[in-house]
Protein backbone atom coordinates (compact mmCIF):
# COMPACT_ATOMS: atom_id res chain seq x y z
CA UNK A 1 0.00 0.00 0.00
CA UNK A 2 1.30 3.45 -0.91
CA UNK A 3 1.84 5.72 2.08
CA UNK A 4 -0.33 8.84 1.98
CA UNK A 5 1.43 12.06 1.02
CA UNK A 6 1.67 14.98 3.41
CA UNK A 7 -1.00 16.73 1.33
CA UNK A 8 -3.36 13.75 1.79
CA UNK A 9 -2.74 13.76 5.52
CA UNK A 10 -3.29 17.51 5.74
CA UNK A 11 -6.64 17.15 3.91
CA UNK A 12 -7.74 14.41 6.28
CA UNK A 13 -6.55 16.36 9.32
CA UNK A 14 -8.42 19.43 8.09
CA UNK A 15 -11.51 17.23 7.98
CA UNK A 16 -10.96 16.50 11.67
CA UNK A 17 -9.04 13.22 11.45
CA UNK A 18 -6.72 13.26 14.44
CA UNK A 19 -4.92 10.10 13.30
CA UNK A 20 -3.84 11.92 10.12
CA UNK A 21 -2.42 14.80 12.12
CA UNK A 22 -0.67 12.35 14.44
CA UNK A 23 1.06 10.86 11.39
CA UNK A 24 2.17 14.34 10.31
CA UNK A 25 3.62 14.93 13.78
CA UNK A 26 5.45 11.61 13.60
CA UNK A 27 6.86 12.42 10.15
CA UNK A 28 7.98 15.95 10.92
CA UNK A 29 8.93 15.61 14.58
CA UNK A 30 12.64 15.17 13.90
CA UNK A 31 12.95 18.06 11.45
CA UNK A 32 11.08 20.45 13.73
CA UNK A 33 13.02 19.35 16.80
CA UNK A 34 16.37 19.61 15.02
CA UNK A 35 15.67 23.20 13.95
CA UNK A 36 14.52 24.06 17.48
CA UNK A 37 17.59 22.46 19.03
CA UNK A 38 19.93 24.34 16.72
CA UNK A 39 18.10 27.59 17.22
CA UNK A 40 17.81 27.31 21.00
CA UNK A 41 20.83 25.16 21.92
CA UNK A 42 18.96 23.41 24.72
CA UNK A 43 17.22 20.01 24.65
CA UNK A 44 14.41 20.91 26.99
CA UNK A 45 13.60 24.23 25.32
CA UNK A 46 13.75 22.53 21.92
CA UNK A 47 11.23 19.93 23.08
CA UNK A 48 8.89 22.63 24.40
CA UNK A 49 9.20 24.65 21.19
CA UNK A 50 8.50 21.58 19.05
CA UNK A 51 5.41 20.66 21.07
CA UNK A 52 4.09 24.23 20.99
CA UNK A 53 4.72 24.43 17.24
CA UNK A 54 2.71 21.29 16.48
CA UNK A 55 -0.18 22.34 18.71
CA UNK A 56 -0.17 25.72 16.97
CA UNK A 57 -0.07 23.95 13.59
CA UNK A 58 -3.21 22.02 14.55
CA UNK A 59 -4.97 25.24 15.55
CA UNK A 60 -3.99 26.96 12.30
CA UNK A 61 -4.51 23.96 10.05
CA UNK A 62 -7.65 25.38 8.43
CA UNK A 63 -5.59 28.29 7.14
CA UNK A 64 -2.92 26.08 5.60
CA UNK A 65 -2.88 26.35 1.81
CA UNK A 66 -2.33 23.15 -0.10
CA UNK A 67 0.03 24.84 -2.57
CA UNK A 68 2.72 25.07 0.13
CA UNK A 69 4.75 22.16 1.50
CA UNK A 70 3.72 21.12 4.99
CA UNK A 71 7.40 20.87 5.95
CA UNK A 72 8.07 24.51 4.97
CA UNK A 73 4.98 25.58 6.89
CA UNK A 74 6.20 23.68 9.95
CA UNK A 75 9.64 25.26 9.59
CA UNK A 76 7.89 28.64 9.69
CA UNK A 77 5.90 27.82 12.81
CA UNK A 78 8.75 26.25 14.73
CA UNK A 79 11.20 29.00 13.73
CA UNK A 80 8.76 31.69 14.84
CA UNK A 81 8.26 29.90 18.14
CA UNK A 82 12.04 29.72 18.63
CA UNK A 83 12.48 33.38 17.70
CA UNK A 84 9.88 34.35 20.31
CA UNK A 85 11.63 32.22 22.93
CA UNK A 86 15.01 33.69 22.02
CA UNK A 87 13.70 37.25 22.18
CA UNK A 88 12.29 36.49 25.61
CA UNK A 89 15.63 35.32 26.91
CA UNK A 90 17.84 37.66 24.87
CA UNK A 91 21.06 38.67 26.57
CA UNK A 92 20.77 35.97 29.19
CA UNK A 93 22.80 33.33 27.36
CA UNK A 94 26.23 32.44 28.73
CA UNK A 95 29.12 34.34 27.25
CA UNK A 96 31.96 32.46 25.60
CA UNK A 97 34.02 32.52 28.76
CA UNK A 98 33.18 28.86 29.23
CA UNK A 99 35.55 27.96 26.42
CA UNK A 100 38.15 25.58 27.77
CA UNK A 101 41.71 25.50 26.59
CA UNK A 102 42.07 22.76 23.98
CA UNK A 103 44.89 21.15 25.95
CA UNK A 104 42.47 20.32 28.76
CA UNK A 105 40.26 18.28 26.45
CA UNK A 106 42.47 15.69 24.79
CA UNK A 107 39.55 13.36 24.10
CA UNK A 108 37.71 15.98 22.15
CA UNK A 109 40.82 17.29 20.38
CA UNK A 110 41.37 13.81 19.02
CA UNK A 111 37.95 13.90 17.45
CA UNK A 112 38.17 17.54 16.38
CA UNK A 113 35.02 17.78 18.42
CA UNK A 114 35.97 20.98 20.21
CA UNK A 115 36.00 22.87 16.92
CA UNK A 116 32.43 21.81 16.20
CA UNK A 117 31.45 22.84 19.73
CA UNK A 118 33.08 26.24 19.19
CA UNK A 119 31.09 26.60 16.00
CA UNK A 120 27.89 25.69 17.84
CA UNK A 121 28.63 28.31 20.48
CA UNK A 122 29.40 30.90 17.81
CA UNK A 123 26.05 30.15 16.13
CA UNK A 124 24.41 30.53 19.54
CA UNK A 125 25.83 34.04 19.86
CA UNK A 126 24.34 35.26 16.58
CA UNK A 127 21.25 37.43 16.87
CA UNK A 128 18.04 35.39 16.51
CA UNK A 129 17.35 37.14 13.18
CA UNK A 130 20.74 36.03 11.83
CA UNK A 131 20.68 32.62 13.44
CA UNK A 132 17.43 31.51 11.81
CA UNK A 133 18.51 31.77 8.15
CA UNK A 134 21.94 30.36 8.99
CA UNK A 135 20.49 27.28 10.71
CA UNK A 136 17.96 26.72 7.92
CA UNK A 137 20.55 27.13 5.17
CA UNK A 138 23.84 25.73 6.51
CA UNK A 139 22.51 23.07 8.88
CA UNK A 140 19.15 22.11 7.39
CA UNK A 141 20.11 22.62 3.75
CA UNK A 142 16.99 24.57 2.74
CA UNK A 143 16.97 26.56 -0.50
CA UNK A 144 16.71 30.34 -0.43
CA UNK A 145 13.10 30.03 -1.62
CA UNK A 146 12.23 27.66 1.22
CA UNK A 147 13.92 29.90 3.78
CA UNK A 148 12.06 32.91 2.41
CA UNK A 149 8.81 30.97 2.80
CA UNK A 150 9.67 29.80 6.29
CA UNK A 151 10.76 33.22 7.54
CA UNK A 152 8.19 35.20 5.53
CA UNK A 153 10.93 37.31 4.00
CA UNK A 154 11.87 38.18 0.44
CA UNK A 155 14.75 36.21 -1.09
CA UNK A 156 17.03 39.31 -1.14
CA UNK A 157 16.29 39.85 2.57
CA UNK A 158 17.17 36.21 3.30
CA UNK A 159 20.42 36.55 1.36
CA UNK A 160 21.30 39.75 3.17
CA UNK A 161 20.68 38.30 6.65
CA UNK A 162 22.49 35.11 5.77
CA UNK A 163 25.45 37.03 4.45
CA UNK A 164 25.76 39.03 7.66
CA UNK A 165 25.36 35.86 9.71
CA UNK A 166 28.15 34.15 7.80
CA UNK A 167 30.48 37.10 8.28
CA UNK A 168 29.65 37.26 11.99
CA UNK A 169 30.38 33.57 12.25
CA UNK A 170 33.64 33.96 10.42
CA UNK A 171 34.67 36.82 12.73
CA UNK A 172 33.77 34.73 15.77
CA UNK A 173 35.74 31.73 14.52
CA UNK A 174 38.87 33.58 13.44
CA UNK A 175 40.95 32.67 16.50
CA UNK A 176 41.39 29.19 15.20
CA UNK A 177 40.76 29.53 11.44
Amino acid sequence: MVAPTDADLVSRAQAGRLDAFEELVRRHRLGAYRVALRMLGDDSDAEDATQDAFVQAWRKLDGFRADAAFSTWMYRIVTNRCLNMLRARRRTEPLPTDREAPASRPDRIAEGRWQVEDLQRAIGRLTPEQRAPLVLRELEGLSYEEIAGALELSIPAVKSRLHRARLELLAAMRPWT
Partner: protein, 114 residues
Amino acid sequence: MSRLRGLPPLPCGTRLDALVAQVADGAAPRDPDHQAGCRHCQAALARLEELWSLAGRLARERVEAPERIDAVVMGRIRRAILAGKVLELFGGLLPRLGWALLTYGGLVERGVPR
Protein backbone atom coordinates in the same frame (compact mmCIF):
# COMPACT_ATOMS: atom_id res chain seq x y z
CA MET B 1 27.57 44.06 18.83
CA SER B 2 28.57 43.51 15.25
CA ARG B 3 32.06 42.28 14.56
CA LEU B 4 31.78 42.85 10.83
CA ARG B 5 34.08 45.85 10.93
CA GLY B 6 36.74 43.56 12.34
CA LEU B 7 37.01 41.73 9.04
CA PRO B 8 39.42 43.75 6.91
CA PRO B 9 40.08 42.91 3.27
CA LEU B 10 42.97 40.58 2.58
CA PRO B 11 46.42 42.15 2.01
CA CYS B 12 45.84 41.71 -1.73
CA GLY B 13 42.66 43.82 -1.48
CA THR B 14 40.19 40.95 -1.95
CA ARG B 15 37.08 41.26 0.19
CA LEU B 16 36.40 38.29 2.42
CA ASP B 17 32.67 38.34 1.72
CA ALA B 18 33.34 37.48 -1.93
CA LEU B 19 35.31 34.44 -0.83
CA VAL B 20 32.59 33.48 1.68
CA ALA B 21 29.99 33.47 -1.11
CA GLN B 22 32.34 31.36 -3.19
CA VAL B 23 32.78 28.71 -0.50
CA ALA B 24 29.28 28.75 0.98
CA ASP B 25 27.19 29.06 -2.18
CA GLY B 26 29.58 27.81 -4.83
CA ALA B 27 29.63 31.25 -6.47
CA ALA B 28 32.17 31.76 -9.24
CA PRO B 29 35.38 33.62 -8.29
CA ARG B 30 35.20 37.33 -9.15
CA ASP B 31 38.76 37.34 -10.43
CA PRO B 32 39.82 33.76 -11.11
CA ASP B 33 43.20 34.70 -12.56
CA HIS B 34 44.18 36.74 -9.52
CA GLN B 35 42.84 34.12 -7.13
CA ALA B 36 44.74 31.26 -8.76
CA GLY B 37 48.07 32.97 -8.19
CA CYS B 38 47.41 34.79 -4.90
CA ARG B 39 48.67 33.17 -1.72
CA HIS B 40 46.43 35.38 0.44
CA CYS B 41 43.31 34.31 -1.41
CA GLN B 42 44.40 30.68 -1.39
CA ALA B 43 45.08 30.74 2.37
CA ALA B 44 41.75 32.47 3.09
CA LEU B 45 39.87 30.00 0.90
CA ALA B 46 41.51 27.09 2.70
CA ARG B 47 40.45 28.54 6.09
CA LEU B 48 36.92 29.16 4.88
CA GLU B 49 36.64 25.66 3.46
CA GLU B 50 37.77 24.31 6.83
CA LEU B 51 35.08 26.35 8.58
CA TRP B 52 32.37 25.24 6.18
CA SER B 53 33.44 21.64 6.52
CA LEU B 54 32.88 22.06 10.26
CA ALA B 55 29.39 23.38 9.53
CA GLY B 56 28.87 20.30 7.38
CA ARG B 57 29.97 18.09 10.28
CA LEU B 58 27.57 19.84 12.60
CA ALA B 59 24.75 19.45 10.05
CA ARG B 60 25.43 15.71 9.78
CA GLU B 61 25.53 15.15 13.52
CA ARG B 62 22.86 12.72 14.59
CA VAL B 63 19.97 14.31 16.45
CA GLU B 64 17.20 12.26 17.99
CA ALA B 65 13.90 13.85 18.81
CA PRO B 66 12.21 12.45 21.92
CA GLU B 67 9.37 10.18 20.81
CA ARG B 68 7.22 11.39 23.71
CA ILE B 69 6.69 14.62 21.74
CA ASP B 70 4.01 12.82 19.66
CA ALA B 71 2.05 11.74 22.72
CA VAL B 72 2.37 15.10 24.46
CA VAL B 73 1.25 17.00 21.35
CA MET B 74 -1.71 14.71 20.68
CA GLY B 75 -2.68 14.80 24.37
CA ARG B 76 -2.71 18.61 24.33
CA ILE B 77 -4.76 18.64 21.15
CA ARG B 78 -7.28 16.11 22.49
CA ARG B 79 -7.68 18.10 25.71
CA ALA B 80 -8.16 21.30 23.70
CA ILE B 81 -10.82 19.60 21.56
CA LEU B 82 -12.56 18.25 24.66
CA ALA B 83 -12.41 21.66 26.33
CA GLY B 84 -13.89 23.19 23.18
CA LYS B 85 -16.74 20.68 23.19
CA VAL B 86 -17.44 21.26 26.87
CA LEU B 87 -17.43 24.99 26.28
CA GLU B 88 -19.69 24.52 23.27
CA LEU B 89 -22.08 22.39 25.32
CA PHE B 90 -22.19 24.60 28.38
CA GLY B 91 -21.80 27.74 26.30
CA GLY B 92 -25.15 26.78 24.73
CA LEU B 93 -26.79 25.77 27.99
CA LEU B 94 -25.60 28.58 30.22
CA PRO B 95 -27.47 31.42 28.50
CA ARG B 96 -30.67 29.34 28.60
CA LEU B 97 -30.09 28.57 32.26
CA GLY B 98 -29.39 32.24 32.88
CA TRP B 99 -32.61 33.29 31.13
CA ALA B 100 -34.56 30.67 33.06
CA LEU B 101 -33.19 31.97 36.37
CA LEU B 102 -33.87 35.57 35.43
CA THR B 103 -37.41 34.71 34.35
CA TYR B 104 -38.03 32.74 37.52
CA GLY B 105 -36.55 35.55 39.62
CA GLY B 106 -38.77 38.06 37.88
CA LEU B 107 -41.86 35.97 38.47
CA VAL B 108 -41.03 35.56 42.17
CA GLU B 109 -40.39 39.29 42.53
CA ARG B 110 -43.74 40.10 40.98
CA GLY B 111 -45.40 37.67 43.38
CA VAL B 112 -46.69 35.39 40.67
CA PRO B 113 -47.87 32.24 42.38
CA ARG B 114 -46.17 28.99 41.45
